[in-house]
């Protein structure tokens, strides 16, 4: 865990907490993700995973604690400044620009970190480099034929792909992926897994995922959250064999197969992504989980 002094960790959460009117969604979570790591975040519904992401990416401010990106304290920075420093993210509840075409979506993302985003007098289509790059991005994920299609016409699988492509367009150094495979068919899951494994090695990935098969193929270490608190953090192998984790997921049934983690809330393909604030999934968890997709994001519903 201790990185060499010359290379600070890519992402550090230091005693992060977030309370919503008395409910503690994230309680004193400390994480360290090394540069180039593939890091997973696991936990039942209402565990605080998405709230933790919102704290890391700047959508929410922590009640206490701090966030650091490559050794720089970014706790006070707004989302767009964090993006400029190389922190990209995707959203669990898809947030693409559905009124725009695929090409417009990707071009908008590509202008994000360039001064040209404030350019007024030149048509965006005339930025040939950007539109070519958008086409390349789309082709990298099977959206090449869909460039002119309005994003609202895309299938659920294509929307999830576009969601990831938008984040990749910024060439982030650290990418937060919030359930990229949510609601995808098995074939589409394979596609997204292939894309994730093909990402450059120097890119640091932090990924929330319910599907342990997707996770196992991509991440090497993980953290388990439960009711806002960190239960355990370490290499994937240790996590899968951890007694507390098994107890958490199985209510102490003691089954041996680590893959059983996938049982937790994997939605049938084609359905909309599950909401974090949904009903408690298992008999083992308390009936009152903290509201995760919390109140501050008004109008952010599906």
């Amino acid at each position: 865990m201790t990185a060499p002094a010359t290379e600070p960790p890519a992402l550090v959460a230091d005693h992060l907490s977030r309370r919503f009117r008395g409910l503690t969604a994230v309680a004193d979570v400390s994480l360290q993700v090394a540069p180039g790591a593939r890091f997973g975040i696991i936990g039942p519904n209402g565990a605080g995973k998405t709230t933790l992401f919102n704290l890391l990416s700047g959508e929410l401010r922590p009640t206490t604690g701090s966030v650091a990106l490559f050794g720089r304290d970014i706790t006070a920075l707004p989302t767009y400044r964090r993006a400029a420093l190389g922190l990209g993210r995707t959203f669990q509840i898809t947030r693409i620009f559905s009124d725009l075409t695929v090409l417009e979506n990707l071009t908008l993302a590509l202008h994000g970190l360039s001064r040209t985003k404030l350019s007024l007098l030149r048509p965006w289509r005339s930025y040939r480099g950007m539109t070519a790059e958008a086409a390349t991005l789309a082709a990298s994920f099977g959206l090449a034929q869909r460039l002119a299609a309005p994003a609202s016409d895309l299938s659920h699988g294509e929307v999830r792909e576009l969601e990831v492509l938008l984040a990749l367009a910024l060439k982030p150094k650290v990418l937060l992926l919030d359930e990229p495979a949510a609601g995808l068919s098995p074939a589409e899951r394979v596609d997204i897994q292939a894309l994730l494994t093909s990402l450059p090695a120097e890119l640091t990935l932090v990924m929330i995922e319910h599907d342990i098969d997707v996770l196992r193929g991509v991440v090497d270490s993980a953290a388990v959250l439960h009711l806002g608190s960190l239960v355990v953090q370490g290499p994937m192998r240790d996590i899968q064999n951890d007694e507390r984790v098994r107890e958490l997921y199985l209510g102490g049934a003691g089954a041996r197969t680590p893959g059983i983690l996938a049982l937790e809330d994997s939605p049938p393909p084609g359905t909309s992504p599950p909401e974090e604030a949904g009903p408690p999934p298992e008999a083992g968890t308390p009936a009152d989980p903290p509201p995760e997709a919390g109140p501050p994001e008004g109008g952010g519903g599906p």
Partner: protein, 359 residues
Amino acid sequence: MTADEKAGAVAVSPPGPGLPAGRGARLALTALRGSRRFTAPVAAVAVGVVLVLLLQGNGFTSTLVVDMLVYAIAAMSLDFLGGYAGLISLGQAGFLGVGAYGVAIAEVHFFSPWAAVGIGLGAVLALGLALGIVAVRTKGVSFVIITLAIGQVLWGLAFQWVGLSEGDNGIPLTILPALGPFDLNDPLTLRMTVLVVFAVVALLLVTFVHSPFGLSLRGVRSNETRLAALGYRTGLHRYLAWVIAVFFAGVAGVLYIFVNQLISPAAMAFSQDGLLVIMVVLGGLGSIWGPALGAVVIVLFQQELSIYLSRWQTLMGLTMIAVVLFSPGGLWGLVRAAGRRRDALIARLEAGQARRGAS
């Protein structure tokens, strides 16, 4: 498919009695392709010629056209904010008033006419910059309400700050700017100037909406949270869109007082704000040209129809309902749909040609 294609060809140009069907289809195709390429320039030239002819006379019609152009500028500025950034303002007529009052009050205080124009535009820009800090903190319904409040405060100032605005009577403007032979006191020069300013504002706004900044405004409307995660300082983008829209409303205001030679609180009343929104929605939200068309129709209703029909508002309301029901994209949506139908017809004719060529 062949039957479809023939029907399409017949609908456009019925082949003559001795003309083989294949040739008729070919002619139709050529005509349609030509229309695709030349619609915009031909329409622009035609509209320009009609306007110039109308603007030359001194009668009722030329006054009507000039009014249309002034309101079109205000409606287009409102569309830039509402149709692209998704911020519908109910205070736009207030800023039109600020531009007009700025000119009038400056002239009352013995500034030269040109300086008065500068003061009018400067006042509206300063006010836009200041009020924008408050206004763009809100979105959706809150934004509508806060702009309504701003518009009403501006109207209230014009109405009650009698020492500055002369209250309900308004301020007349007697001397317009002149520069050598270019004299806005000459009615024809003034009308041509309004036409040129309209064209410049329209082209600027159309350029803006196709720029990366224009794209970012559509992104703001579509999904602001995502846009922030992509590195955009979304508040800044909304603020700039607001300032641009307010400034062009002020430009419309300066032309308004030149044309009417009087500004009174009536020009800033809530009904005027509503009328501008109706122009935008009737013409087509998010199309720039559409709201200009909406301004033409509404001014026509207001000034022409009202002569013959005292209940012209009823007819305006019914028209509004019909457009919203049958063409949610407004009048401009109808124009676009016609263009799409033509393209589909071209594609069908081309397919027919290809089949005939192959066999």
